[in-house]
């Protein structure tokens, strides 16, 4: 069984450093499993978020070989031989990091564009606040009957309701890197979903349109599709943003 080198960008209140761990590769091993190996067998102080390990909960987004991905969905075998100082197809330069290392190994860093709390844990509250600011909910109390909805509408919505709010898109977004106030791809994708939903009220739709009609909203996007490239659930925020632009008055 072969071994690989896992390089992890660590951070605490005082400093930032890189730790290198040699990990034995098992068939089917994911980056998340490799991180658990370190946490349970080598260094218990390593911290990272996790929950489902099946790419549905969105907890473990991080930068793996300079690409924002879910650690649970990333196979060690796929990334251990990647060169990490070159951009991957369709995902041009992520925020440049001060550490350019990691050929023939895996470099794991915290998700960019959010401040680091410790090690691989970033401040997700900022991301949630952006998403919550668009008021992502149906503003209606339960009625006696279900709404009738065309199957085609359900399919259109599904492309956006599949979002798991993992923030990989946010970590890949150059506009979010420049402007901390930019709502970002996840919030705007959700805005499109609620604009589209026949259960939304016209009043809420108008209020939403007004709210996102700004340089920190739909006009802040660079339209470079980096969010689309990294989304683990194949959500297409850029398309949603372009459609929303077409609805602006």
């Amino acid at each position: 069984m072969s071994e690989f080198e896992l390089m992890i960008r660590r951070q605490d209140r005082e400093q930032i450093w890189i730790d290198r761990f040699t990990v034995e590769e098992r068939p089917g091993m994911t980056v998340l499993e490799a991180l658990f190996h370190v946490q349970e067998k080598i260094d218990g102080s390593l911290c990272f978020r996790y929950s489902c390990r099946g790419a549905v909960c969105g907890s473990c987004a991080m930068l793996i070989n300079k690409v924002p991905r879910l650690a649970c969905r990333t196979q060690v075998s796929e990334v251990k031989d990647e060169t990490t100082d070159e951009p991957k197809d369709g995902v041009a330069s992520i925020k440049p990091s001060e550490i350019i290392e990691g050929r023939n190994g895996i470099l794991v860093e915290p998700l960019p564009n959010l401040s680091v709390i410790r090690d691989l844990i970033v401040d997700m509250d900022h991301f949630y606040e952006l998403v919550d600011s668009i008021k992502p909910w149906i503003n209606s109390d339960a009625k006696e009957k279900a709404t009738l909805m065309e199957p085609s509408m359900q399919i259109q919505l599904e492309k956006y309701t599949n979002c798991i709010l993992c923030a990989t898109c946010h970590g890949a977004c150059p506009a979010a890197a420049r402007n901390g106030e930019y709502l970002g791809p996840a919030a705007l994708a959700k805005a499109w979903r609620f604009h589209l939903d026949p259960r939304s009220k016209e009043k809420d739709r108008k209020e939403l349109a007004k709210f996102i009609n700004s340089d920190s909203g739909v006009w802040g996007c660079d339209v470079v599709y980096k969010c689309v490239a990294v989304c683990p659930k194949k959500v297409t925020p850029t398309q949603g943003i372009l459609k929303l632009r077409g609805k602006m008055e």
Binding site: P136, K145, E158, I164
Partner: protein, 558 residues
């Protein structure tokens, strides 16, 4: 000290629904959860949620299927509530924005599920849990309910048979805080991770059930552990029953549809316990593929149907097993999936301790009995979540303010306990946890015997002793996962012991509990619920009657 009238522990479906109901009643309610609510395991549920929406269907028919599926251990009064209230709860979720799949005429689509006499499982592709969870969380945002995310509750405070609050650690700085509440609602989910092979999220360690148990609340029917027949080889991620509901076949290595030998009529859509035993038998008798798995074949459904109705499991199979189900069969094996047992509670989520409620998978109400029907767990969360939120809101009206003293004393004791856990050398939590998972997997699984259960019980006792010497070496105060893991392991050991003892004493086979040394159901002696009470020496067992209203126990045949 943090104060609320009601605090819900757990931010999955049951917890969110309970909090929404309390909020609707104008009560000061908050949610506390060890992860952000949308990271909860509810989001992993795939197949669907049952409700008799069809014109030819009825709640009574749903109830009969549920009771029969439970091997007659479910309480029929609570099953009636579950099935009667199902349509209203599902329609409510639709009105709030859940993106249910649709029929051509625009209604909520329903698919067949195992053990159901009617296609009554409503679904949102194969991401039903995800869609419901996000919808409820959106409604919680709308209501402005306060959420404490990434806090681990470490102890419930019970004073004179009444729950007055709890202690919790903020994982961002490892500080303990006391929470005072007139009512506390447990909605902490299951304990799947005490097994080696489980579909459950890694966070499902059962520490919430452990909180109630060590506070003196009995656990009910814990020996009934559901093993899902089809979990993905390797990671044991769930492959939904919907795959068989849509027409998938199971094959052994000789390319035989072996279900014909176990349930000739229902075939692949027999009850979960029956299909899980069938697959395990194929594995044990050498008819499975090397590595211990069988094949779930959906290739004949075709590209379009798979992409439309089972896109999630297609992606999971590609990502986690390197298999595209459009082209080749999925390698599957049974794995722990769900706990029918839990904190003993009633139709309104009330436990025997006043001011403490339990709903969702952490609770035993008991609507699932000895074996849960697919599509009934999501339903359970919203039906009884709502009821507990309402009941707790009514309860607190008559409750006086709680004094600070008992909470202040408790926090001092708990801080001492945590201080004692820190150290330079001792047992490591991960080693003990791994051994526990192996013991449970090998001895308290699909097939059980006295010999193995005896062995498991002794081994767990040893592990508990070793766990007393666990030391946490990480000194960090910011997300100290070693400390959090060590704290949660204690509950895992307690629950493992309760499950094992319950299984050892119950000398019959019923639903998911199958004893190879007592292969028949024995209604005369065992048509009763197990109750387990915490003592320092280990669980003390007692029993109580099953509520039977309209369905007399019959032999299950599929």
């Amino acid at each position: 000290m943090i104060d609320h009238d009601i605090i819900v522990i757990g931010g999955g479906l049951a917890g969110l629904r309970a909090a929404l109901e309390a909020d609707k009643k104008g009560v000061d309610v908050a949610i506390i959860s060890k992860v952000h609510p949308i990271r909860s395991h509810s989001g992993a549920a795939q197949g669907g949620i049952n409700a008799s929406l069809g014109l030819d269907d009825s709640w009574g028919s749903h109830a009969l299927d549920t009771v029969k599926g439970s091997d007659y251990l479910a309480d029929q009064d609570t099953v009636e509530i579950l099935c009667r209230e199902a349509p209203e709860r599902v329609i409510e979720m639709e009105n709030w924005g859940t993106n249910f799949s649709r029929t051509e005429d625009g209604n909520i689509a329903q698919r067949p599920f195992g053990g159901a006499g009617f296609p009554r499982t409503c679904y949102a592709g194969d991401r039903t849990g995800h869609n419901l969870l996000h919808t409820l969380y959106e409604q919680v945002l709308r209501s402005g309910i306060k959420v404490y995310s990434e806090w681990l509750v470490t102890k419930l405070i019970v004073d004179k048979e009444k729950c007055v609050g709890f202690l919790a650690m903020n994982t961002i700085d490892s500080k303990l805080e006391s929470f005072r509440a007139k009512a506390t609602i447990l909605a902490t989910g299951g304990y799947g991770r005490i097994y080696q092979r489980s579909t459950n999220a890694i966070i499902n360690r059962g520490s919430g059930i452990g909180l109630a148990y060590t506070a003196g609340v009995p656990l009910q029917d814990m020996e009934f552990v559901q093993f899902h027949p089809t979990t993905l080889l390797g990671t044991n991620i769930l492959i939904t029953e919907g795959a068989r509901g849509e027409g998938g076949y199971l094959y052994n290595k000789n390319h035989e549809r072996f279900m014909i030998n176990y349930a000739a009529n229902a075939m692949e859509l027999a009850q979960r316990d029956i299909v899980a035993r069938a697959i395990q038998t194929e594995i044990d008798e050498g008819r499975a593929f090397p590595g211990g798995y069988v094949q779930l074949d959906i290739t004949h459904l075709g590209n379009d149907t798979i992409n439309e109705r089972l896109p999630g499991i297609r992606q999971i199979s590609i990502d986690f097993a390197g298999v595209d189900p459009v082209k080749e069969p999925i390698p599957v094996q049974p794995g722990q999936h769900y706990s029918m047992g839990g904190v003993s509670s009633n139709k309104d989520g009330e436990t025997p301790v006043s001011g403490l409620y339990a709903v969702g998978e952490c609770a035993c109400i008991s609507v699932h009995g000895a074996n849960r029907l697919g599509g009934n767990s999501l339903l359970d969360t919203v039906v009884f979540g709502k009821r507990a939120g309402a009941a707790a809101s009514d309860y607190i009206v008559s409750q006086e303010a709680i004094s600070d003293d008992i909470l202040s004393k408790a926090i001092a004791d708990e801080n001492e306990m945590i201080k004692a856990l820190m150290g330079e050398s001792g047992e490591n939590f991960a080693e003990i946890r791994e051994e526990l998972q192996a013991v449970m997997q090998n001895n308290v699984g699909v097939f059980r015997t006295r010999e193995k259960l005896d062995l498991a019980f002794e081994r767990i006792k040893e592990l508990k002793k070793r766990a007393d010497n666990i030391k946490v070496m990480s000194k960090t105060n910011v997300f100290n996962f070693e400390l959090l893991n060590a704290l949660e392991l204690k509950a895992m050991l307690e629950l493992a012991q309760v499950i094992t003892l319950g299984a050892l004493v119950r000398e019959e086979s019923r639903g998911a509990h199958f004893r190879t040394d007592f292969t028949e159901r024995n209604d005369e002696e065992w048509l009763k619920h197990t109750l387990a009470y915490y003592t320092e020496e280990g669980p003390r067992l007692a029993y109580k009657d099953v509520t039977i209203t309209q369905f007399q126990p019959k032999r299950r045949e599929y």
